[in-house]
């Protein structure tokens, strides 16, 4: 083992670069989103952009702190950290503050801190620790159960805080389970069913069924035509078609009204643009009006004049879409996709199983946030209020994501030293 050569030794600068690019983009767009003629300075600490700068500086200090800590600390103390934050999640239900319908906030010195944000990081640590343990095989029912418990216990507590968005994010860790060996079919089904469900509501069911039939027949050409395969394929086909036809019924007869509303809004079948559909409609108007080149920095009208709600937090992507146009918004999507790919590639090069699964966990969590957030602003997913990682306004989420990412960067820099 070699001695350490400073904290920046063997650091993955691509990841750090992508991180800094996103953080700075976020800060500038928060400035644009809440820009106010009477507070022109981007360093004005009475405004959100001034505060965000403070959050960023604090986040960088946190990042440096993590780079100093011995990487072994995180694997060794992962269960402890996990336990600590699960406890915090429970405590916050009883003693926390309520902010916009969610009870999961601690008030610390004027700032609201949301343990749920950190619980994700803790869960990723615990899951990675568990999966990297000797004798653990996810294909074994007992281990799958334990892994699921690690994921769903905090998710359930978060759900009790009425923070549906954060709770859903824990499901992202199924990607880690998949990488660890979870059956591909389970994984596929988990991804395919929601997609099929939405399609069933949008596309005429007959056409969809026809498309599925075509797909099934095409697959028949490529698989080994053994009886078992053909029967399986046939069964899958029948199940999916049945699913398609049951979705409509479920939505109309089983879901609660507000849930149904959100789904109808999403599918563009709700014309009540004042009520449930207001956010999504205004969000699309803001992004759509950006056209190719955008309206220019600080030139956005929809976001600047508050037509888009939550524009510095959950709907920050609107500001980018409106002011930077397709060019800027597309670049943003590309930046995130690059980050996720880099994370996966970096995870794959780990010799330590813990570090690898942790890397996948980071990628999964960030990816889910990204997908749900941008899917929501683009009207592709229901309105679920979760922040866009590194970009949305807010200290709690920025710090949590920074810690999440830099723990991995720290592990990664030690990849040659840890086995």
């Amino acid at each position: 083992m070699r001695a350490e050569k400073g904290i920046f030794h063997k650091i993955d600068w691509v990841l750090v670069g992508l991180y800094l690019a996103l953080v700075i983009t976020g800060w500038l767009n928060i400035y644009a989103a809440v820009y106010d003629e009477s507070h022109r300075s981007i360093f004005d600490f009475s405004q959100k952009y001034g505060k965000q700068l403070f959050f960023i500086l604090a986040a960088l200090i946190l990042a440096l702190g993590i780079l100093i800590i011995d990487p072994k600390f995180f694997s060794q103390f992962s269960y402890f950290i996990y336990g600590f934050f699960v406890l915090a999640l429970v405590v916050v239900i009883f003693s926390g503050r309520e902010i916009s319908g969610s009870k999961g906030w601690f008030a610390i010195g004027g700032f609201g801190v949301q343990p749920a944000e950190f619980a994700k990081m803790a869960t990723v640590l615990a899951l990675a620790k568990f999966l990297s343990s000797l004798d653990v095989d996810i294909r074994k029912g007992k281990d799958l159960l334990t892994a699921s418990a690690i994921i769903f216990i905090p998710a359930l507590i978060v759900l009790l805080q009425h923070d549906t968005g954060s709770a859903i994010v824990f499901f992202a860790l199924i990607i880690v389970l998949y990488r660890a060996g979870l059956s591909g079919y389970v994984f596929l089904a988990l991804i395919a069913l929601p997609v099929l469900g939405v399609l069933a509501l949008v596309v005429p069911k007959i056409i969809l069924a026809g498309a599925l039939l075509t797909l099934t027949l095409l697959l028949l050409l490529f698989i080994k035509r053994r009886l078992k395969n053909i029967l399986t394929l046939g069964a899958v086909f029948l199940v999916t078609v049945g699913f398609i036809f049951s979705v409509d019924y479920s939505v109309n007869h089983i879901l609660e009204k507000h849930q149904r509303d959100r789904i109808h809004v999403l599918l563009g079948q709700d014309i009540d643009l004042k009520g449930t559909g207001y956010n999504v409609n205004q969000s699309l108007i803001a992004i759509g009006s950006g056209k190719f080149f955008g309206k220019g920095f600080l030139q956005g009208t929809q976001t600047k004049y508050n037509f888009v709600p939550e524009q510095s937090t959950d709907f920050i992507f609107c500001t980018i879409g409106e002011e930077q146009g397709f060019l800027g918004a597309g670049l943003m999507v590309a930046l995130y996709t690059l980050l996720f790919i880099r994370l996966v590639l970096a995870a794959e090069r780990q010799r330590s199983k813990f570090a690898r699964f942790y890397g996948y966990g980071v990628a999964s969590i960030l990816f889910f946030h990204f997908t749900i957030n941008i899917g929501m602003t683009l009207g592709l997913l229901p309105v679920i209020g979760i922040p866009l990682p590194f970009v949305s306004y807010g200290g709690s989420s920025l710090w949590a994501f920074t810690i999440l990412l830099f723990i991995f960067i720290r592990q990664d820099s030690f990849r040659y030293q840890l086995v």
Partner: protein
Amino acid sequence: MERLLANRKYIIIGFFILVGALFLVRLFYVQILVDKYILSANNNVLRYMTQYPARGLVFDRFGKLLVYNEAAYDLMVVPRQVKNPDTSALCQLIGITTVEFRKRLERAKQYSPYRPSIFEAQITRENYGYLEEKLFLFPGFFVQLRTLRKYSFPVAAHTLGYIGEANPEVIAKNPYYKSGDYIGISGIEKSYEEILRGKKGMKIRVFDVLNRDKGNFREGKYDTASVAGTDLHSSMDADLQIYGELLMTNKKGSIVAIEPSTGEILCIVSSPSYDPNLLVGNIRKKNYALLLSDTIYNPLFNRALMASYPPGSTFKLVDALIGQQEGVITPDTRYGCPGGFSIGNGKMVACHPHPSPLDLAGAIQISCNTYFCRVFKSIIDNKSYVNTRTAFENWRKNILSFGFGKKLGIDIPNELNGNIPTANFYDKYHGKNRWRSMTIISLGIGQGEIGITPIQLANLAAIISNKGWFYTPHIIRAIGKNDSLNQAFMTKRHVNVDPSYFDVVIEGMSLVVTAGTARGAKIDSIVVCGKTGTAQNPHGKNHSVFIAFAPRENPKIAISVVCENAGFGSTWAAPIASLMIEKYLKRKVTRKDVEERMINGNLINGKLPESESGKRDISQD
């Protein structure tokens, strides 16, 4: 096994890329392919505020202001921005019921959910004060400054006309007009609409989600300024108009006065009339309905341009002129009058007792029916023409040159043709070749199928005073500056009668006033030339008609007066005409007794003052 699992990274990466690509496609669709979002965005924040130009003013011939503008405020609504307003509070502020509120909002929504339309028009200044303070409570509502048309004097309603909101048909036809815009609907407001209205401008302002004004869009780069309407200088003499309407109090009829040398109309009175200020702003609809429903007085009917009367004896002047031109009489032609003109079958056109025989001037002076029946017979039976029909057609052509039987083409809308019957008409009525001069002899004394409007009659007086020509009468003498004359009325129109034939007619008209049928029209120190007439009215008492011009040399005013159901021309029409002439030429009237009698005369209820009724039984004109 572990290697196999490692390959799953490709599936995971593929999944990430798939989602990213899906977002890019969606972004491309939302930002590039569809335009509805940018339109919605603009509708969200940009408020297109029409800048209404001040409508042009109208002055009278002496520079008195006739029509001007006054500030008013329209409450506008953008239905899409209306958010659960405290309906009752807003209703209270503008004084409507909540039912009416919803109705109006629905109507505005139907016009456009995101374009402003008028919610309540022309709010008074005081109410505006209250409203403006509270307006921020009602997103979607804002106030727009407009102007109200105001008329300085309660006269000349038919001539000046009124403005109102452009109706959907106009909007559909003419892209200039938008919902809520004003347009001239009658009178010169209509005929000079494009000059008076100016050009609308557009100001684009930015509003935030709470309907707060955030200033000009791009520093006003796309704003256009409005161009104020052009002023009009009317030839109307406001004093004369007021005086004329005063004289016509409680009378049905009209007065039209023209300056012969220019064709400029000095006044057009149509009685009964109404105050033009009744048809202004939000009281217009109610008042218009009231005026329209008044079928007894018919105040909206512009008699001066639209009523067509048989001209009666005033038409003898035309006989005298055409008779000379056709060579069938000379000033010295004398006809005896045996108390009437026999038309066969024992029937005759009666005449009143007078010295006989008379020459042409004398026949005009006394208004001898026999004389002019013979003149007309001579014109129609003229051997120079192959038959009655040809002679009649020729006569008709000459008559039309006086501006009869067709619109004169003045600059006030709704003028009517009047009627000069055609040969075809008589062919149909009597049968081809089955009518002769005697069949249509009543035309010679201005009765029968002939119809002439008061403005055509006034124009006849102008033609005679000018000895054979006229300018098309018009009420707007100059557009913009006082000296930039209305180019549409600069063409002299000549009648088919040689100027030399006018002297004897003018002499006759002079005698009418000094020693003839209209001695009541005499004014000291002004030589008035006139002619009385009685228009036959099958529905009731005859109409009193008088035309005149003055002074005889260098005439300044030509006038026609029609008093419906007033009997002879000499009793009402002639004195009213003389008062008008005196008023115009001397600017004040000295014959107070005549004036008072004329003003107080009430002919509308069919009651005549005691001294005037049933005194004479034979037509004296």
